[in-house]
Amino acid sequence: MTAAVLAQVVVSGALMGLVYALVAYGFQLTYATSKSINFGQGELVMVSAFVSLSLVNAGLPYGLVLPAGMLFGALLGLFVERAGVRLALEQKSEGWILMTIILGLFFLSAAENVWGRDDRPFPTPISSDPIHLLGVDITPLEISVAVGVFAVMGLVELFKRVTLLGKAFEAVSADRDAAELMGISARRAIMLSYGLSGMVAALAGILVSPITTVGPTMSSTLILKAFSVAVVAGLDSGFGVVVVGILLGALEAVTSLTVGSGWREAPGLVLLILALAVRPTGVFGKATIRKV
């Protein structure tokens, strides 16, 4: 195996890893306001991808499919918050864990019934003819993944750090009652974070589908890896998920090439177990400061 092949594999893997990072970022968004995550996030990715595919097949131009798909994802995120999370959070229970899993299974069955069990190609106007760049072949399609991931994460991070509403998100996470006393509606902040999280999930689906195809099984593959990335990176660092996502993607691709494609899933699980054993707050996570 030559260095060129290895470089090629690393780059393709890393780009795939960016998609894991984006899905993991969806976990972080809702965790940031409510300390809850949507365990059905993978199904949100899949259903949004299917809906977008239907829109493409209905003849909608790609430039409109992208925002429409993201809007659909956001609405689905809001639905998950309303149907599965809100009541549990208000009663300070952990019921959202089971509820989001159930909603995910529901979306999965619905998708299988509506769109069937087969994987389907996702047509896109973005070319997949490789360009030769610094010794590796990279397709415009892959570049669009990177651009999309960085653009949306950059915008959301900017919102969280720079705007007062973004700081209010963090206040709700730190102390929900105290945030209410400042005139911040905790319910609306949590709704907004679920909407954003759904939007990010949809974008991940639309970006990855032309490369991997769309199918009901894409949710479980993606969710497992995104979960590994979120746990390894920690649930509060956007920068962390990008680094860990790229690393995991590259590692998977290299493992698949050298050890065999059957071992593709191994690095993610090994990383997950290592992180839980050695650093449960995540490599980029911060231990919470508590002072009484």
Partner: protein
């Protein structure tokens, strides 16, 4: 400015408040004192909407607010500095203060400019907060956190401030500092309802006081009367 009439509230089946009635006039500092478990904090929580009152009325500046969500009552001009301070630990001191003014600031950009005068006022009152403004609030000492909690309430430019146990868990010398601050706020014309365990300190600054016992207002007196009521002091105030 703030009137509470026949307020009933509780947690689950247990009714803690059994008809609390009190009034705080504009510019007044009114103390609410009583033994542990008398219902002082519950009264505060029921006024600010953290706890939904079962019956009774809360009138803020002529408007009935009972039954509204806490964030709505806050937006109408009630600032509640809760028991245990509850500063936003991971956020910086300045961000805590900015969020205190959330109700009157633009939600996206330009909020720092709008908040400049308020920040200056709070930093003038608590110079220590200015020194530590980029520090995470969770790393402040108890006394500094209490200053921050009061500053955060002031940032809202509220009509009424509820101060719940500002001296809790603080060293005596810091408690003195806190009461000096409360006195200054009063002189500046702030309307305050103060809950305190240290009844004598509270009575020293308050215009009027209510004594609470088992979810009811036992009596209302001028602070001079209360301070000379030996029996009462013995019984409730320690």
């Amino acid at each position: 400015m703030l009137r509470v009439e026949g307020l009933h509230a509780g947690y689950g089946a247990s009714e803690v408040l059994q008809g609390v009635t009190l009034e705080v006039g504009a510019g007044q500092l009114v103390a609410l004192i009583g033994a542990n478990g008398a219902g002082k904090t519950t009264t505060m929580r029921a006024i600010s909407g953290l706890l939904k009152p079962a019956r009774g009325r809360v009138i803020l500046d002529g408007r009935e607010v009972q039954g509204l969500e806490a964030f709505q009552i806050a937006r109408l001009g009630l600032a509640h500095s809760p028991e245990g301070r509850k500063v936003f630990g991971p956020l910086s001191v300045e961000d805590n203060l900015l969020l205190g003014a959330f109700r009157r600031l633009p939600a996206f950009f330009g909020y720092r400019r709008h908040a400049a005068a308020g920040l200056e006022r709070v930093y003038g009152l608590f110079p220590k907060l200015k020194d530590r403004r980029t520090q995470a609030a969770g790393t402040l000492s108890g006394g500094e956190q209490q200053m921050l909690a009061i500053g955060r309430a002031l940032m809202a430019d509220p009509k009424v401030i509820l101060l719940d146990e500002p001296s809790m868990g603080l060293a005596p010398i810091i408690v003195q500092e806190v009461f000096a601050t409360i006195r200054r706020l009063k002189e500046a014309g702030t309307t305050l309802l103060l809950v305190e365990q240290f009844a004598s300190s509270a009575l020293a600054v308050a215009d009027r006081a209510y004594v609470m016992e088992r979810g009811r207002i036992l009596r209302e007196k001028s602070t001079d009367d209360l301070r000379h009521d030996e029996g009462l002091l013995q019984a409730y105030l320690g």
